[in-house]
Symmetry: C2
């Protein structure tokens, strides 16, 4: 067993600590966030920080790094009010990872990385045509994390798009029925396959595995 | 392609919408949060909302549902200042799922579900002895999401514990080298195995796959 305590963590080389703490958050959901700027240039950015906030109203959140440089995705969401999330599957690699390169302002990652922008009537933010599960969100609120200047941005889900075959009768999206990817840290992607599904747990009742 | 728009989402049966929006967040990292109350009773709770906030200082966050009822884990963190996160692997199932049952106040999920509390000298919050990767965090700050009353609680990592063989030379935790689980929605667990690892992406350079 390796044990790192606070003073040792503080003394680590910054790259080492970055990889340790990024992976410590466990398996994450890599998603492409689609936006458009006020001039009409589309933007696509890789986020590993998608999080469920609530189902009613339907809310998801993402974490933005501190606004010490221009964050195109953040600025586009504030300027236009909308963004899309587009879940990543194996056939979208390595192009989806390539969107994390620092392209010059005015370059669309859709063009640079070979993704197809698809539009909805609801707003100008583009979907990724290659995605099997995607959603549109409208800006709701944001919170500045005092400890490091990151921002939690919360969006309201205004549209969900799901490929046929991936919607279960109960409303669940079947992440085990297409080659979706999880991520670990900043550059490792994992395939996921179904392990088990369990019923709602109750005290004094053994856990029931369900189909 | 199935498309749900805002008015359709609002009109869904609440169970259906809950499952749709919970799974829309993609693959998540299920983790057991260990705490202790002021009377010394240990508590273990299943969270699917662990999120990376930053590496320097090392910060992780979790989302709490609205405090409309007593949330033992939240109250214990506020009372004692500390909590542990303990990543879930296959051998910890189904007991880890069972911790999500609503046990009576005064019952420890360690006892009820068969996990071994392990203590550090740093604070009274217990680790799960069966976990291969775990960490201790101290309370830093919290943010109330106005849209639905959930809370983002941010903790500072004060200790990391990693089983031998799961720490890469660069500091990354090897989530592909032990049978860790991802989760989808509230009750589905997935096995993860390595797909690919890519180098830091740069414009005008093809993505490099790395070992």
């Amino acid at each position: 067993m390796y044990i790192f305590q606070a003073d040792q963590l503080a003394g680590l080389a910054s790259d080492y600590r970055r990889d340790l703490i990024n992976t410590l958050a466990g398996l994450k959901s890599p998603t492409l966030v689609g936006t458009v700027d006020q001039g009409g240039t589309t933007n696509l950015a890789l986020f590993n920080s998608l999080i469920h906030i609530g189902a009613n109203p339907p809310l998801l959140g993402v974490i933005f790094r501190p606004l010490t440089v221009t964050r195109h995705t953040y600025q586009n969401i504030r300027d236009t009010g909308f963004f899309t999330i587009n879940h990543i599957h194996q056939d979208m690699m390595p192009q989806a990872h390539q969107t994390s390169a620092k392209y010059a302002t005015g370059t669309s990652e859709f063009d640079a990385c070979g993704f197809t922008p698809v539009f909805t009537q609801l707003h100008p933010a583009p979907y990724v045509g290659e995605a099997l599960v995607a959603a549109s969100l409208s800006y709701v609120e944001e919170h500045l994390i005092q400890a490091n200047g990151t921002i939690l941005l919360v969006g309201n889900v205004v549209e969900v798009r799901v490929q046929e075959g991936l919607l279960e009768p109960n409303g669940s999206l079947a992440f085990d029925k297409a080659p979706f990817l999880a991520s670990s840290g900043l550059n490792t992607y994992l395939k996921a396959e179904k392990f088990k599904r369990f019923a709602y747990a109750k005290p004094d009742t053994p856990v029931q595995e369900i189909p």
